[in-house]
Structures are given as structure tokens and as C-alpha cells.
């Protein structure tokens, strides 16, 4: 923080508004973000007592994720660990898929489309999100179902002989997750790409660059902050999604959030659920930071 930040802040906003902003900000960060997480952390480190009393501090809940219940036949908790790994890998795949899908859209919106075309295209992207997430997930379930539109078309065209089970193959789940967060990927990228001086693209072209090279050397490096904030959001949200896996997931495929949900809700074991949730949160943060390090993105760029 720069020296005299508060002074400048007050000078800019005035005493009353400045104080109000500070109070709101402190409340938001402190009460709505930090405190709940701290209480989750506290829960996760305490022994679960059915009577609702406060238990002793212990690492038992974390141990459970790795080694399973005491006295279990397997040396490790294979079921939960597998679901955890699968969730993370699937979330990464969804993120990459979304990135590949949304980059052309963002480029089209930011550099190619003009005026009316741009507005219509942006509206087409936004309007589906007026429908709530659960409804959208059910709609996808119907489309991907055995008697759904996609199977009907594929069978009608003679590509398939009998309906393909998109739900069991998790295709419906990935499509649902991907679709749920498209806007979160498109708009940060669009924001950055839109601010790229079109002359940069023309200059590269004039100097002999083919189109893919222009993207690789000019547009993508410039759009990196947008790409990384889009990816971060999509990854975090798909790893933490609950509705889509619940509705679109196959009978055998569990998402890690579903296990957390079961601990909290069905099992009533908040301590165990909190430990799982903390593990998911910390892992996601570590993965995001690792990717940011790998692609040399600064934390400050994310906000751009």
C-alpha cells in the first residue's frame, strides 16, 4: 500500500463517503468472507460430537479423507480420493474446453463485430442466463437424454443405431458445466481484447504474419490477464459446482462437492464436511497459483 493511501482516499471520496466505503468494505471482507471461512476452518479441526457440543482440536477429519474411517479394510480412502482427483482434473478440462470455445467468441466480439452485430451477438450470449441454473441443467438433461433431441437427430441421420447414453458418459455433465460458465470466460477476455488497438493486428499482418501467428504473438499475450481471470473463475466455479453434477452427473459419477454436501446434510457431520471443503478450497487456490506462476501472470493483472 502506498504511503498516504488513506489520506488520498479521503481526499478523493470525502470524509463521510470515505468512511462509509471503508466500513462497508471491512464488513464485506471481514464478516462475509473471512469470518465464515475461519469458522469453517475451526469446525474442520474439531472432533465431531453428535450432541452439538464443541469437541477437542484434532486432525482426524483431514486424516479421514486420506486414510478413510478407522478400522476400514483399505489402507487409503480410495473412493473419496478418486472423486477428489477426478473433480479437479475434470474442472481443469472444463476450463480448457471453455477457453478454446470462448477465445474465438471473445475475439469476434472484441475486434470483428461492430455496432448492431455486436449488440445482437452479446444479447444472444446473455439472454439464456435469464433462465436459472437448475432449469438450464434440467433442460440439458432432457436434450442429452435417451429420447432427447441430440439422440433423435443422430439416429435420424443414421449416425447412431440406438440412443447413446450421454449422461452415463458424463458428456452431459461437461457440457452443462462448460455452458454454465461461458459468460465468465467470454467477458473478461472480451474486455481485454476489445481494448487492443486494431492497428496492432494490422501491423503484424502487414509485416507478413499469418492469422494464427497474429493470435499467438499479439492477441493472446495481450489478452493474458483476461484469459487468466476467466480461467480462474471457470475453474473455481466448476470445481465447486453442485447443481450441474447433481442433475447431469451419471449414476456412478460423484463430484467432490457432492461428498461435502452429503457430510453436511445427510451425515450431519459438519466437522468432516468442513475439512473436505477446506481441502478443496486450498487445493484450488494452489492450482490456480501454480498455473499463474507457470504462465507468468501477476496477481494484479487478474483484475484488469
Amino acid at each position: 500500500m502506498k504511503k498516504g493511501f488513506l489520506h488520498n482516499f479521503y481526499q478523493h471520496n470525502g470524509r463521510v463517503l470515505g468512511t462509509a466505503l471503508l466500513v462497508i468494505l471491512t464488513f464485506w471482507i471481514g464478516v462475509l468472507i473471512i469470518l465464515p471461512q475461519l469458522s469453517m476452518l475451526d469446525y474442520s479441526l474439531r472432533e465431531y460430537l453428535p450432541s452439538g457440543q464443541v469437541g477437542e482440536y484434532t486432525l482426524k477429519n483431514y486424516r479421514h479423507l486420506v486414510y478413510g474411517a478407522e478400522g476400514a479394510s483399505d489402507p487409503y480412502n480410495y473412493v473419496d480420493l478418486k472423486v477428489f482427483t477426478r473433480t479437479i482434473v475434470a474442472a481443469i478440462c472444463v476450463t480448457i474446453f471453455n477457453l478454446l470455445l470462448c477465445y474465438p467468441i471473445a475475439f469476434f466480439l472484441g475486434q470483428v463485430a461492430k455496432g448492431m452485430k455486436l449488440r445482437i451477438f452479446a444479447m444472444l450470449l446473455i439472454i439464456p442466463y435469464w433462465i436459472n441454473e437448475i432449469l438450464r441443467a434440467f433442460a440439458l438433461k432432457i436434450i442429452f437424454g435417451a429420447t432427447g433431441m441430440i439422440n433423435a437427430v443422430l439416429i435420424g441421420m443414421g449416425i447412431l443405431d440406438e440412443p447413446f447414453d450421454f449422461i452415463r458418459a458424463d458428456i452431459a455433465l461437461y457440457a452443462g458445466l462448460g455452458y454454465a460458465y461461458i459468460l465468465l470466460m467470454v467477458f473478461p477476455m472480451y474486455n481485454v481484447i476489445e481494448s487492443l488497438d486494431h492497428n496492432q493486428i494490422e501491423a503484424a499482418r502487414d509485416l507478413g504474419a499469418p492469422w494464427w501467428r497474429i493470435h499467438w504473438r499479439i492477441v493472446v499475450p495481450y489478452a493474458k490477464p483476461g484469459i487468466s481471470s476467466g480461467c480462474t473463475m471457470v475453474f473455481m466455479l466448476s470445481a465447486g459446482a453442485l447443481a450441474a453434477p447433481q442433475i447431469l452427473g451419471g449414476p456412478s459419477s460423484l463430484w467432490f462437492t457432492q461428498i461435502i454436501y452429503q457430510w453436511f446434510n445427510d451425515g450431519g457431520n459438519w466437522s468432516q464436511g468442513a475439512a473436505y471443503a477446506i481441502v478443496l478450497l486450498v487445493s484450488c487456490i494452489i492450482i490456480v497459483l501454480a498455473f499463474m506462476k507457470m504462465f507468468k501472470v501477476n496477481m494484479g493483472d487478474i483484475g484488469k
Binding site: 492497428n199 496492432q200 494490422e202 501491423a203 503484424a204 502487414d206 509485416l207 507478413g208 501467428r213 504473438r217
Partner: protein, 370 residues
């Protein structure tokens, strides 16, 4: 020095919907020349440049570079390099990467590129600045990097779209000289777009003056300045005093103009209009401020003008007198400052004299608006 590659525009039309941006342009640019398109903003000069560089397809007509028709050839395949008005340096690449971007595309090794970048940096007098980012350079330095980046592509034709307009006056004047020197050194054809007539005059071999999509005149600086072919050129290039009237008499290549306010004045008919002006035609005659001098008060004759002095100013290199002209326009006289003493004539009538060959008469037409 190579002979350079010429550029020809043949019957070039460029339309955007109903709007005609360029109307039947025919230009032959000699290889190795510094050629300028000069005109006010919106006259279509940048459109022509975009057609030459390949970013825009002409509606009709052809662009030929080195005799080859460029139709259907994209900007990345043409032997041209464009310097953008805002330079468009790549902000995330270092200076040396910027300069050698065209080599990177051709697959040159980093070592080769580094070497070439250093050579070019020496040429543009920025040695050792290769590892900086463009944002760390000053305006003039960025300018030079943009030139080096374009030259690195080894184009046959360098296209410049008002590249100096963002610089301050001193630097602009300095860069003019520098650009001209670079052009002579590399010997390739430069096509330069500008709305600044002094830029065009100081740097160019030839100039095309444009107005609303039409090329009014093509010629070297002296011709454009001394022998304009339209009233637009006469009024756009440099300062000029205009006198409106009708042709009273034609004597060879001279015309006696019966002006609305200043009596009958004898002038030279501009070369392009000789034989075309007839007695009774509406005409405009132009005299440069520096071609007027003070004569004994009240002298009568066909090369004397008498008018009331409204204002005077001292500009350093000249002493300017403003006199009542026609239609609210002033007649400006610029007397060179040779150390003499200037008498004030404010509010008095003053008689001016000019030499007939310095006054040009043209068919009445549009004037450039300031």
C-alpha cells in the same frame, strides 16, 4: 542505391456504400521517390494508402507495385510496409523483438534477429536500446523504432500514414530531415500521407494534392506552390491572397482580371489552365503574401493594389500587414525582416506592388477552408 520499385494507381475508385472515398485516381510513382499525398483530413489519402498496402480492395481500378497487379494479394504478401499514424508498436515485445518481428515470422534464429536489430538500431541512432520496452522510449525514439521495424521487413515500398503528427513541432521538423535522409540511404520508394503542407514540401520529390477523393494536382513542391492548377491547391498549399473577378482580356499566357474590389490586375495564367480560360470567365487570382511589396502611395496600374491597413504584426522573420480584402478575407503581406525599420500604417490606405509572374490566375473554384 537500387533503382527502387515504382507504384502505379490506374483508374482507382474506392467506394464505401454510396460514399466515394477515392475518385478515379491515376498516379505514377517512380521507384525510389519520396511521394506525398497531401490533403485535408477526410480527403481520401489514407484510403489510398490502405489500398496500396492491401488492407482495402479498390472498388475499381488497379494498384500496381513494380508493374505487378496487386489484386487479390493480401497485406502480408505485398512488398510494402506500413507505418501507422499511432505507430502500433507491440507493447509487450522488447524493442529488438519489435524491430525484427518480420524476421521472426520467416523463421530467423534469435541470434540473426539480434544482429539485424543491432544494425538497425545503429542506423536509427538508438544503439543499445534493444532490450527496452516501447513504453520506455520517448515519442521520437518510438518513431524511429517504427521506421526500423518497417525497414527490417525489407519492403520495396514504405508507406507512412502521418507518422509525425503526434510529435511536437521541434521534433517533427527534426524527424522530417531524418526521414528524408533514411529514404535516400535505403533508396526505396516512400509514400507519405500528410495534411501538413510544409512536411510535404520539405520532404517530397513529388506531391499529389487531394480534395474530397479527387487528386487535383501532381507535381514537385515548386510546381505545386508556384504553379497550382486549381483554386483549391492554390489556397491549401501555403498562404495565399485571393482576388475574385472575371477575365477581361487574355494576352498570350497572361490574363487581365477585372477584380471585384481592386481594379484590373494583370496575372499569369497557371500552366494547367493556359488556353482554357476565356474572356468573361469567372476567375480567381492568387498572390502569395511574400510576393507583395510596398509601393509609393496611390500608384495606379495593373500590378498595384490599394487597400486599408487593418492590422499589423511582427512575427520575427517577417513583418505582416493585414489589409481589407474581399468578403471579409484579409490581404496579407509578409515583408521579410532584413533589419530595416517598419513604419506603422495602421488605419491608412497602402499601395502594394507585385511582379506579374508571381500572380496566378485560375478558373474560379472551391477554396480550402482553414
Amino acid at each position: 542505391m537500387s533503382a527502387g520499385v515504382g507504384v502505379n494507381l490506374e483508374n482507382l475508385w474506392i467506394r464505401f456504400g454510396d460514399f466515394v472515398a477515392v475518385r478515379d485516381a491515376n498516379v505514377n510513382i517512380n521507384g525510389g521517390d519520396f511521394f506525398s499525398f497531401l490533403g485535408p483530413s477526410g480527403c481520401g489519402k489514407t484510403t489510398i494508402l490502405r489500398a496500396v498496402s492491401g488492407f482495402l480492395d479498390p472498388s475499381e481500378g488497379n494498384v500496381l507495385i513494380g508493374g505487378n497487379n496487386m489484386a487479390g494479394i493480401g497485406p502480408n504478401k505485398r512488398p510494402t510496409a506500413l507505418i501507422f499514424q499511432n505507430l502500433a508498436l507491440f507493447p509487450l515485445m522488447k524493442v529488438w523483438e519489435n524491430i525484427t518481428f518480420s524476421m521472426e515470422i520467416k523463421g530467423a534464429s534469435a541470434k540473426e534477429r539480434r544482429k539485424r536489430a543491432d544494425e538497425l538500431l545503429d542506423m536509427i541512432a538508438l544503439p543499445g536500446q534493444g532490450d527496452k520496452l516501447p513504453s520506455e522510449l520517448s515519442g521520437g525514439q518510438k518513431q524511429r523504432v517504427a521506421i526500423a521495424r518497417a525497414l527490417c521487413a525489407e519492403p520495396d515500398v514504405l508507406l507512412l500514414d502521418e507518422p509525425l503528427s503526434a510529435l511536437d513541432l521541434k521534433l517533427r521538423q527534426h524527424m522530417r530531415t531524418e526521414l528524408r535522409e533514411i529514404q535516400k540511404r535505403v533508396g526505396i520508394t516512400f509514400i507519405y500521407i500528410t495534411h501538413d503542407q510544409s512536411e510535404a514540401l520539405t520532404m517530397s520529390d513529388d506531391i499529389a494534392v487531394m480534395k474530397a477523393g479527387v487528386i487535383d494536382q501532381i507535381g514537385n513542391g515548386k510546381t505545386i506552390y508556384n504553379d497550382p492548377s486549381t483554386s483549391f491547391v492554390a489556397s491549401f498549399v501555403g498562404e495565399n491572397n485571393v482576388f475574385r473577378g472575371t477575365v477581361k482580356k487574355i494576352i498570350g499566357n497572361e490574363a487581365l482580371i477585372e477584380t471585384n474590389r481592386s481594379g484590373d490586375l494583370l496575372t499569369r495564367i497557371s500552366t494547367a489552365n493556359q488556353g482554357k480560360m476565356k474572356v468573361g470567365d469567372d476567375a480567381m487570382m492568387f498572390i502569395r503574401p511574400e510576393a507583395l511589396s510596398i509601393a509609393p502611395r496611390g500608384t495606379q496600374g495593373d500590378h498595384f493594389v490599394t487597400a486599408q491597413v487593418t492590422n499589423e504584426e511582427f512575427e520575427g522573420n517577417s513583418f505582416n500587414i493585414f489589409m481589407e480584402g474581399e468578403g471579409g478575407k484579409e490581404i496579407k503581406v509578409a515583408l521579410p525582416n532584413l533589419g530595416q525599420s517598419f513604419e506603422s500604417h495602421k488605419g491608412e490606405p497602402l499601395t502594394l506592388e507585385y511582379e506579374v509572374h508571381n500572380a496566378v490566375s485560375l478558373p474560379a473554384g472551391e477554396l480550402a477552408t482553414e
